[in-house]
Symmetry: C2
Subunit: 177 residues, 2 copies
Amino acid sequence: MFSQTVEYALRAVVQLAIHAPKPQKTSDIAEATKVPNAYLSKVLQGLREKNIVCLQRGVGGGVTLAKPPEELTILDVVNAVDPIQRITTCPLDLKAHGVRLCALHRRMDDALQSMETAFRSTTLAELLQDPNPSVPLCDRNQQPIMQLTSLLSSPASAPNIPDLPPNANPESRPDVV
Amino acid sequence: MFSQTVEYALRAVVQLAIHAPKPQKTSDIAEATKVPNAYLSKVLQGLREKNIVCLQRGVGGGVTLAKPPEELTILDVVNAVDPIQRITTCPLDLKAHGVRLCALHRRMDDALQSMETAFRSTTLAELLQDPNPSVPLCDRNQQPIMQLTSLLSSPASAPNIPDLPPNANPESRPDVV
DNA sequence: GTGTAACAGGATAGAGTTATCCTGTTTTGA
DNA sequence: TCAAAACAGGATAACTCTATCCTGTTACAC
């Protein structure tokens, strides 16, 4: 549903947000985000054209966010590389429909709108402040305060959060059927 | 965001639902839905493999829905041709994340889930019962009861719903920002 | 100015999506 | 049995997306 390019772009800007405002080299972002280096370079050029990032050549250069993480939403990034195309007029060009979508296209556009709204509501800064124990792009878990305390007081009993089997999925919300 | 194939498949099954349970020829569906005939044939073969439609060769044959419109949801059709792929494990394969998605992928999957839920909540039958004046695949507007009455009593003053300019969009819900 | 760091951008290629064409197979009914 | 109707399916092509490679250009430090 989301293109590879969107996924890559989001990973890259999250990595930039983590280190903002320090510039990051494309190759370092590529490594951290597991995105092919040469392709990431193209994606970043696209982001620059849409004023999401700044690219600086030469020694000490690299990539930076064009705005502070508080002012960049997921939607800004998504729309920069692979815009969510809302359905505004009848895809069949039926004259009688025009901008009054039929039930089918109304529902399809509603789905697009809900996605757009969700993406617009989250900034990069909010992503980083999320209390989720999995830190974006970082292969470790945050230790909750309680566990951190016990870790400090008795290192031997440090909780070791195990990987869960693929079907356990304790963090996800139950599917509304 | 939605592939052409999904759009085509949805148009086709709506057309089948409109005429259910009467079989429709592929060529007739193609014409009504403005989908390339030969390509629609491939799409329908995909829908048959997923038991969404039945295809019958020979004189009097054609395409029918494999279930009544009340039992087919938009999601059934979408997943048959271009499945909504939920994010269940970390796309970067970070060991520490596993099935506990980070904030970024959690939000992306939430968006996918809301789309999935919306599509699962609407059957083909409900699409056809929608009071929306634009009838799916049909290039005319239903006359609301009031207007129909006035039409019958005084044909000369029959309201003629004009096409609206692209930005007026009176039917769409206001965008929640 | 010279060398190095780092992005810029064109050429190219593989895979997937969308689309077309043509021939084969099945089914029905006269 | 034969002919027509209608789908089946292989071959192929255009286009887009994803990805790689290589050379050029810019910026900084010395």
